[in-house]
């Protein structure tokens, strides 16, 4: 279906798989634990897939080295924007403190985000949900949004997708352009590291 709609962003296989399976579980009264038991293998592959990012990184190493400075600057700005915008918007929306804390690491990959959430004594499964929602929304909106800005540098677009929408954004970037995918993968890995370091600081400063 994704290919049939010419990879239209809304025909995102992840989104449709999730709601279809979710609906199925609800209708048949199957517990999530039962489902997850069977889906363990698929979930487990997230680890090797992260390691596998080394290959496109290696294959494009010259382009990466040439862009190291813009990458580092964009990494810091992007990571901070993701955290701060989440906190500021959530407070403006009057969300409870526990929810705000759970939302702060939503730009990084699920495993790391949940770890950060636990450190903050927030709810890790709410964090996991916000991570997936962020990833899906980011992946859907990135191409139309970037086309609107008229920016054609796929390294920049890919990097932004990796920062804002982690793995799902990276997957989407790979669909669009291989170089974008590489930069997205790097952004995702680096953001996981930087966000773990920045969230505790941001929370102390910004959350009431």
């Amino acid at each position: 279906m994704s290919l049939a709609t010419n990879r239209h962003p809304f025909a995102n296989p992840v989104l449709h798989s999730i709601w279809t399976i979710g609906a199925f579980l609800l209708i048949t009264g199957t517990s999530y634990t039962t489902y997850f038991g069977g889906a363990q293998f698929v979930h487990f592959l997230l680890g090797p897939a992260t390691v596998a990012l080394a290959v496109p990184l290696y294959e494009n190493r010259k382009a990466v080295l040439a862009a190291i400075l813009p990458m580092l600057v964009a990494l810091v700005v992007g990571s901070l924007t993701a955290i701060i915008s989440a906190v500021v918007l959530a407070e403006a929306a009057g969300l409870p403190r526990g929810v705000i804390l759970a939302l702060t690491p939503k730009s990084v990959t699920a495993g790391v985000a949940m770890g950060i959430s636990e450190q903050l004594h927030a709810d890790p499964s709410l964090t996991a949900v916000s991570v997936v929602l962020t990833g899906i929304m980011g992946a859907i909106i990135v191409t139309p949004l970037m086309n609107r800005t008229g920016i054609t540098d796929f390294r920049a677009r890919g990097f932004a997708a990796g920062i804002a929408a982690h793995g799902i954004g990276t997957a989407r970037a790979f669909q669009v352009d291989a170089v974008a995918g590489v930069f997205a993968g790097i952004a995702m890995g680096l953001n996981a590291l930087v966000t773990s370091l920045l969230v505790p600081v941001a929370v102390t400063l910004l959350v009431r």
Partner: protein
Amino acid sequence: MIASLSLILLCQLIGEVIVRGLGLPMPGPVLGLLFLLLLLLARDRFALLATGPLSGGGVENASRVLLANLSLLFVPAGVGVVQKLDLLAEHGVAIIVVLAVSVVVTLLATVATFVLASWLKTRGEDTP
């Protein structure tokens, strides 16, 4: 294929062990990524390493397959949303709006910074 996957898993394992052992603030697989990268770079220098999965595009193919299906790997975690439906019912709309606006702002800030920094860099290189 099996050998390639084993190599990838081995890198991941080493990464996880080191991260846990040293208490590093990063996910194990990310360190595994660095390790695999080092192996690939070392392979350029030391032709001896080009055996098994590191030769004939073995690990490259395995990587391509994993990454081609990357988005689907998030589905099990995503379905976890069914456990949180009551919380979502209460704050759902606010949460989604916050996340949506945040992701757009982050995308724009990141891409603008990258492009700007890149442009400044090339300009700095052009002027003597």
